[in-house]
Subunit: 186 residues, 2 copies
DNA sequence: CGGTTCGGTCAACGCCCGTACAATGAATCG
DNA sequence: CGATTCATTGTACGGGCGTTGACCGAACCG
């Protein structure tokens, strides 16, 4: 008869609610971009009041920052071309949403994404360092452009030829490109 | 001392003002995307009152439609790979703004851009028809993705390695990719 | 010349947004 | 137990937006 422990302690509840808000925010930012995403909308998807979102995250900017935080992407080791193909496969299969939050929102809200520009630059440096060529930097940039372009056409523009294709086919056709750009032959 | 002909007839004046508004709209849509572009902003850039923009174009949607209208892009003839490289060079040099209006706004306002999805599909069909391979459609889609990715990284994300590079270098590095994808060797 | 068209301005509307803040009630703690 | 924290709600405000319609004056036309 003594009072049972409440199924959820306050801390647990808090964490769960915050996670629900973040998940809703990620999905909405990815689908609508920064501008069209509203705090009320995110709150409603998460099943809470809009004021709560503000209370927890302070501002829309901050909510976006938290929602867009990505785990540090580690580059697979090995021949650069193979490593990059693996990296692309991950982005095609594993979690398109994570990529989309950043990509779409960098486009709709460039100022909010200064941090991600930095992350992208770091990624480029690492790739460039693995490419044995004088113009390694440009080659890395082009590989990044291809990856971004594929994600863009497949998930954002949803152009049919790419949206419907199996990831394997895409990777197979792209392999010669990556090898050429990664300077595998030299 | 008879009344001189006014320097500009009403029709001329109208056309010039409309053009000025369209130019301002194109620049603003390309730079800010659909959502962040405001009619007041476009009007102010064009040096007119916001009401006039509404009066001439009816709505923001319609203004966007008119601003984003592109000349039908004709594909250069010849080996598909060379033709596509030429097409990319045009987009890199000639008029980045025109590409950007469509690209950026398709991303920020997908619904407004159904028409351009159609145009993109037609372009893909034409490219696909020129590629002698069973998976021509996918190959065309990948080429389109590469072109979009390069424009994206260079002009929208402004990633340094691509933004600073001469167009010639980009094309030189991309040539093997296009040849491989366009099935030149088969 | 007088009436009409029409390029252009201005002020206002209703809406939705990000945000602020007071209120509430249940979990927590001494 | 009473006091206090804190997750959560509801309400409200100020601002910017797309859009509207009344209005003005100069170009047009018979």
């Amino acid at each position: 008869m003594s009072a049972e422990k409440p199924r959820r302690t306050r801390a647990e509840q808090r964490r769960e609610t915050e996670d629900r808000i973040l998940a809703a925010a990620r999905a909405t930012f990815a689908e609508l971009g920064y501008e069209r995403t509203t705090i009320r909308g995110v709150a409603s998807t998460a099943g809470v009041n809009a004021g709560l979102v503000m209370h927890y995250f302070g501002s829309k900017e901050e909510l976006f920052s938290r929602a867009a935080m990505l785990p540090e992407e580690e580059l697979p080791v090995g021949h650069p071309a193979e490593a990059l193909l693996t990296s692309l496969r991950r982005r095609l299969d594993d979690e398109p949403v994570a990529s989309l939050v950043v990509l779409r929102s960098m486009l709709t809200h460039a100022e909010a994404s200064g941090e991600f520009r930095v992350a992208a630059a770091a990624w480029l440096d690492r790739v460039g360092a693995a490419i044995p060529a004088a113009d390694a930097e440009l080659r890395a940039g082009l590989i990044s452009a291809i990856i971004n372009g594929v994600v863009l056409d497949r998930y954002l523009l949803k152009l049919s030829s790419l949206a419907d294709a199996p990831a394997d086919d895409i990777l197979a056709l792209l392999r010669p490109c990556f090898e050429s750009l990664a300077g595998e032959s030299g």
